[in-house]
Every structure is written in structure tokens, then in C-alpha cells.
Symmetry: C2
Subunit: 321 residues, 2 copies
Amino acid sequence: MPREAARVRDIPTLIERARAGEARAVARLISLVEDGAPELPEVAAALAPYAGSAQVVGLTGAPGVGKSTTTNELVRALRAAGRRVGVLAVDPSSPFTGGAILGDRIRMQEHTGDPGVYIRSMSSRGQLGGLAAATPQAVRILEGAGCDVVLVETVGVGQAEVEIASLADTTLVLVAPGMGDAIQAVKAGILEIADVFVINKADRPGVDNTYRDIQGMLALGERGPGEWRPQVVRAVAVRNEGIDDVVAAIEKHRAWMTDSGQLTVRREKRAAVEVEAIALGTLRARMGSLREGTPLSALAGRVAAGELDPYAAAEELLKTL
Amino acid sequence: MPREAARVRDIPTLIERARAGEARAVARLISLVEDGAPELPEVAAALAPYAGSAQVVGLTGAPGVGKSTTTNELVRALRAAGRRVGVLAVDPSSPFTGGAILGDRIRMQEHTGDPGVYIRSMSSRGQLGGLAAATPQAVRILEGAGCDVVLVETVGVGQAEVEIASLADTTLVLVAPGMGDAIQAVKAGILEIADVFVINKADRPGVDNTYRDIQGMLALGERGPGEWRPQVVRAVAVRNEGIDDVVAAIEKHRAWMTDSGQLTVRREKRAAVEVEAIALGTLRARMGSLREGTPLSALAGRVAAGELDPYAAAEELLKTL
């Protein structure tokens, strides 16, 4: 009981320290998001006024395409330009262990001594609504802590990751020559979400084919007058080549977003996804999710045995809410 | 009104024709699943008694790893063994266009003249609860149509795809040499879901490293006595090499699942995911999802403007249900 009270009283102090840019307070707040802590509504309420102060940049692409290296070099370039930078590396947590793998983040420790950079891998082990809810909340914390730019890097190209990346103000899609043809990119639904394509590892054979494929697909897309045409930039992140071009493309998109009014549209969509995810998470918890001994578990047993169809079971389940 | 009545009356006939193995009736029923048609509860009720008659095999792996080719060769091998086979290629639909890309499925048309094979790409454009709900329903239809084996192939390695694949009785994870190291596989959470690893393109350099990496990671996993140790099989699907070994590994896993009682456990979990997804989809539709002019849309505008925090908005939203 006293411990609970202490934790609750902590929140205003934590927010204040995070606002002052103290990394440990930021870390603590993001952990609350990851864990789906009961204090989150209080955190969210305290941070609401700072919404929208940071530029949010999403990065996605297939495993092995060089996302971590590119993020690392972008951080370096943005720091050189005097921007405060937050990085959220969103790892889809294993459905069974809930663990996020940090292996290739170790390289980023070159930035750990820099108070102008905050880097964090994030999973969604306890969060109601999963990463769709957790990511915007973590962004909100980094905004509150004074980051000018928040990079959200997602692992993988599944629909969930694509959706998270697409919630950014500007979405970078990384591809690499020889990692499957352009059709594979379309399959994963990433063509539509890319504001900027980065062809990384552009010193590899096949880079011209990759470039041509992407431009060809972009030419097929219908685009009204004044609509954004995705930029295609070549880079070799591991040698820090082309990173300035990536930064320039991000800035160009940002200016277009602001001028066209699309920035507000996209941010409202991001808020809608977040609110919906929190609401659905609450409902899911009430239904008992997939735990044993809950109404859902009992209904599932009857469906598996062929005694009940899943729609009838879902209807029964909704009655228990 | 008469058209509506005609559609509803159709269902028992469609089921009967699908039960008789008529491909067009099967196609029609799966389209109903994709579209989230109002007749789905009726379809589900009619098919409930046939639940569990097919062996469900999931296939997943990064884009470019050779999933379509491997599926194609598995179909050939299973047909040679006299099994009736259904294939569901689950493409994560683009979040914006809802379209599924069928490009590399064309090769599979070698099986189109064979009445013992039913192949279908599936998206989830209208389905409440997305592919998590749609896939088990489509499996149910193929079971009802007399398939002995249903192969569920998912594109991508995102959490959503991993979850879909993991709902199978047996889950194959495809990897290839030189497509990113083993850590990338762990990141995507696929290590835990694999019952059988298939190292495809095993004629490429680096195959021994890939094999050793996977075995190394498997050695780290804690496994109780009598638990399944994932099999690792090498194949060159494009030359039909190693496919018999893959089939043998699937059979071995199937026997273990049955003997250990895990088959029932996994199938109940599959049913729980399906029922929960349908229930959440219903609730999502009631909240107005992300459409303009709904309570959610209005609340999101206030969150984006910093007037309201997302938890308070979610609470408001739940009151509208």
C-alpha cells in the first residue's frame, strides 16, 4: 500500500525530470509504457499538452536491409545539425517469450555518451493494444523530453510493422539490391506507405535494377496534382554515403507535409489508431484474452470440438462484457 | 430484397457443393470470408461439425526465401502421396488499397487442372478481425471440402504473419543462406514458432553457417523431457531437392502432436484466437473504426491537438458502445 502510493506520487516528478531531459526519467517512463503500467493514463494526461512538438520519422524494411546502420548514421547527421534525437527501435516481441532482441543495437552505443540522443528498443509485452498503442505513447514521452526528431525503426515488413511505420510524419522504406525483387516490396504493402525510398547497400550489383523497379512502380501509381511523389535515394549507410541525401529528402517531405496540411491529417490518424488500440486492449482484457479458465477459453474448447461455430462463440463472449 | 433472400438461400447449396469438392463453390465460400459477408455466421454454423479433419501446415519466412516454390513442390509431393491439398496464400493486404498481389502465384497454375488441389490467395479487406479471423475460417471451408492437408503460406515475417503461421498444427519456417543472420530470425519471433526449419536454397554458399546458427539457437532453448525439438531440413525447392525430407519432418511432427495431446491444445488456441478476433472486430465496427465523422474520429482530433490524452479518449469511446 505505501509502495503503491509512492509509485503514483512519482509520476509528476518523473515527468518534470524527463522534461528537463534526464535520460533515466525518460527510460523509466518508457518502461511504464512497455509494461502497460496502471499509471499510464496519468502519464498520458501530463504529456498531452506537448503533443506534436517532435518530427516523427518511421523506418522500415526487410530484415538484413541495414535499418540499424542507417538509423545510426541518421542520428549522427541529425546530431551534427544540432537536433535532439530520440530513437525507438520497435521489435515485434516474440509471441511466446515477450523478449526484444537487442543484439545489433550494441553498435549504437557510440551515441550513449551524448545527452542529445536517447535510444531505446521497445517491445509490447504488457501493453494493452500492443505496439500500435505503445509506440505513439513512447513518441509522446520523447516529445515531452524535448526531442526535435523521433526515429521509429520497426523490424520486419509485416502489416503490423508497416502500420507502425506509417504512423510517422515521414516514412522511410529501406530496400537493398538483390534482396528479392520489387514485387516483394509491394506484397508487404510498403509501396503505399513510403514517403522516401532508401536503396541501401547501393554499392552492390543490381542497384540500377532496384532503382528502375521502384521508379517503375511509382510511375504506375495514381497521384493527383500537388500530391507527394516518393523520393528515391541511394545510400551505403555502412560507409556513411548518401546519408545527407536521406536527410534532405526527409526535410523536403516535412516541408510538403506542413504546407499541404497533410501533417495534421496524419497526426489525427495516428491519434485515432492509438485511441482505438487502447480501447480494444481494454475490451480484450475484459474478455479474458487467451488465458485458461476464462469464458474465451471455455468457448474455444467447444469450437475446437466442433460443438459451436466461432461466430456463435463470439456472440456469447460479447454477452460476458 | 429478393436478391438478399436468394443469397441467403444459397448457403446450404454452396456448402453441399463444396462438400462434394466443387472448386467454384469453395471459391465462392472463401470470397465470402474475404469480404466479411453477412452470411458468414451461417457458413460457420454449417461447417462446425467438420472442424479438425484436415492437417493444417503453416509456412512462413522472409520475402525472397522461396516460400511459393516450396509450397508448390510440397503440393506436388502430397498429391503424389494421394492426399487432397488446399493452399491458402495469405498476403497481408496493403493497409491502403486492400489488394493482394498474385504475381508469383502464377507458377502454381501447373496444379490448376488437378481437382485434388485447391489454391487460393487471400487478403482480409472486409473481414472483421483481419486475417487472424479470416484464415481459420478459410481453413474450415477447405476442411469441409475434403482437403486432407491445408497449407497456409504467409508473406513476410511480421508478428501478424508469425501469429497466423503459428496457428497451424505444424509450422514450417523457411530461411535461406545469406539472407541476414540468425539473429534476424529471432527478432521476428520465428524461432519459437518453428516446428520444422527448412533451409531453402541450400546449394548457396553459407548454408553450413546457417545450419550451425539454427542448431546453436535451438541448443540454447530450454526444452522439457518429451518436448518437441524442431527439425532442421535442407532443401533446394526450385530443383525439387529435399522436399521428401520436408514431408517426412511434417509427418514426424504430426505424429508427435497427436501422441502428446498437443494437437488438441494448439487447436483450442487457434479457436480462441479466431473467436476473440471476431468479437474484437465486431466491437471495432461499433466504435466506428477509423472513419471520419465517427466518435473515434472526433476524439482523435482532440488528442492530436493536445486537448485530450489518449486514455481519456479511449474511455470516452468505450462509453459510446
